[in-house]
């Protein structure tokens, strides 16, 4: 007796479980203007149930979803850390390129400012022995005739003169070497002097000789090449005065200066290819009165 009853119950149940979602679906998909009273009633009955069920589903799904998101967090973190390091490195590279670009721009400006032909070279080593203050260069361009005594300059000023050439390698006697000398003028006042390296292994310094006692020289004054001697073009910065000692007697005053070029950071220079023989004769030093 129970078997046919159970069968009918099951059939009714299945029909009900098919009919209920069917009418729900019909009501929920239909446009509001197409709804009939039955649809509206279904929605009205379903709305509160649906609200709570959807809220619960969202909550549970959110918890599970957050956990699933956490699965990727470590991998994402590693990826982002790697990306961050890569970008930082890139920023550093761009910064270095910018500095290099500025330096090359300045070098190009210097190149255009010098009327003579020049050859660029890179510094490959500095020999700061007690006896010689020499920098080794390698030429950027091939087939350039480099000879001894050719002036070497950088964007900051005079570097020295070519001492020895061996293929692409060029040794430069720096302005701070005791064997170096160049005629200079004080940019501010026009007072003359002769810069000579002191060869002090402990510091980069030069001495300014033959500055007359009556000439106005002050600490901070810039000394530039005078062009006399036809080695260095006129107006190249050489050193900045750091000490002036005036005596009450004698012809000259004692002046010490610091090269404008920071030799410890020097990396690119220009060799001026002028030939002293082609230089126009320069008038001898005008006589200066001592009084």
């Amino acid at each position: 007796m129970t078997t046919p009853l159970r069968r009918y119950r099951d059939i009714v149940l299945v029909v009900l479980l098919l009919a209920v979602p069917f009418f729900f679906l019909r009501a929920s998909i239909r446009r509001p203007e197409e709804m009939n009273p039955v649809d509206r009633m279904v929605l009205r009955v379903a709305a509160p149930i649906q609200f709570f069920a959807a809220a619960a589903a969202r909550g549970i799904s959110g918890i599970i979803g957050d956990y699933v998101y956490l699965v990727d967090v470590k991998a994402d973190n590693n990826k982002l850390a790697y990306e961050n390091a890569r970008l930082k490195n890139k920023v550093r590279e761009i910064g270095q390129l910018q500095i290099e670009n500025q330096r090359l721009s300045r070098l190009l400006g210097l190149r255009e400012a010098i009327p003579d032909e020049v050859a660029s070279a890179a510094v490959i080593g500095k020999n700061t022995t007690e006896y010689f203050r020499v920098a080794a260069l390698t030429l950027d361009t091939v087939g350039v005739a480099i000879r001894a005594n050719m002036p070497v300059v950088s964007v900051d000023g005079a570097v020295g003169t070519v001492m020895r050439v061996d293929g692409d390698r060029v040794d430069v006697q720096l302005t701070v070497d005791s064997g170096f000398g160049v005629d200079v003028i004080v940019e501010r006042t026009g007072a003359r002097g002769f810069v000579r390296g002191v060869g002090d292994p402990g510091r980069y310094a030069v001495r300014v000789e033959y500055v007359q006692r009556t000439d106005e020289v002050a600490v901070g004054d810039l000394l530039v090449t005078s062009g006399i001697g036809c080695r260095f073009p006129k107006g190249i910065a050489v050193a900045r005065v750091v000490r002036v000692a005036k005596r009450d007697f004698g012809i000259y005053q004692e002046v010490e200066a610091e090269p404008t070029v920071d030799f410890s950071r020097l990396d690119a220079v220009l060799i001026v290819l002028s030939d002293p023989k082609d230089c126009a004769p320069v008038a001898k030093r005008r006589p200066r009165s001592s009084g």
Binding site: R9, D10, L13, V14, L17, L18, V20, P21, F22, F23, F24, L25, R26, A27, S28, I29, R30, R31, A46, Q50, A53, A54, A57, I60, S61, I64, G65, V68, Y69, V71, D72
Partner: protein, 175 residues
């Protein structure tokens, strides 16, 4: 006991299914997320003797999927109850015995599910673009569902066996 086990398994599968797309985001294939609950519905249709239990559990699963999937309420409820009934009356018991047949069953019923979605949306809905989107993703969805179907069916079968054993042991103990 069996009701609780099957219900828990179904809820778990729905939760996993509703979050699987986050793990499969690397793929650009539409519809790659498998339907984990469909094989369970097929199991209820094929192996569950109690019609009432099968129908009610399927109804609950369908309704939960509607909630979690954000589908129009009643869509998956109706479809899953229909699929459960279809699998029950077609007598596909034999086809769930081997892995290959389980894969085939998962694939075919996913196609049936997609066809029903298309038909229902065409009948009731006014969105003409959605059927096109569904038709594009149906093969990938069917393939991925076919791949997971043997595992879900195996899991459901184990639970089924375990619940039978537990109830037998309980009956023995009371005697």
């Amino acid at each position: 006991m069996r009701n609780l086990l099957l219900l828990s398994l179904g809820v778990l599968l729905i939760l996993v299914q509703s979050n699987l797309y986050r793990l499969l985001h690397f793929s650009n294939i539409n519809g790659l997320t498998p339907s984990l609950i469909l094989p369970l519905v097929l199991f209820l249709g094929v192996h569950e003797h109690s019609m009432a239990r099968g129908a009610i559990l399927t109804f609950v699963f369908g309704y939960l999927l509607d909630l979690f999937a954000g589908a129009p309420i009643g869509l998956f409820t109706f479809i899953y109850v229909s699929i459960w009934w279809l699998s029950r009356i077609t007598g596909v018991r034999l086809t769930t015995q081997t892995w290959l047949s389980r894969v085939s069953l998962g694939f075919i019923f996913t196609i049936v599910e997609a066809a029903m979605v298309l038909i229902l949306l065409a009948v009731f809905g006014s969105d003409t673009r959605r059927p096109l989107e569904i038709s594009r993703s149906v093969l990938a969805h069917a393939a991925s569902t076919a791949l997971v179907a043997p595992f879900v069916l195996q899991l459901a079968f184990r639970l089924h066996q375990a619940s039978i054993s537990a109830s037998s042991a309980g009956d023995g103990g009371t005697r």
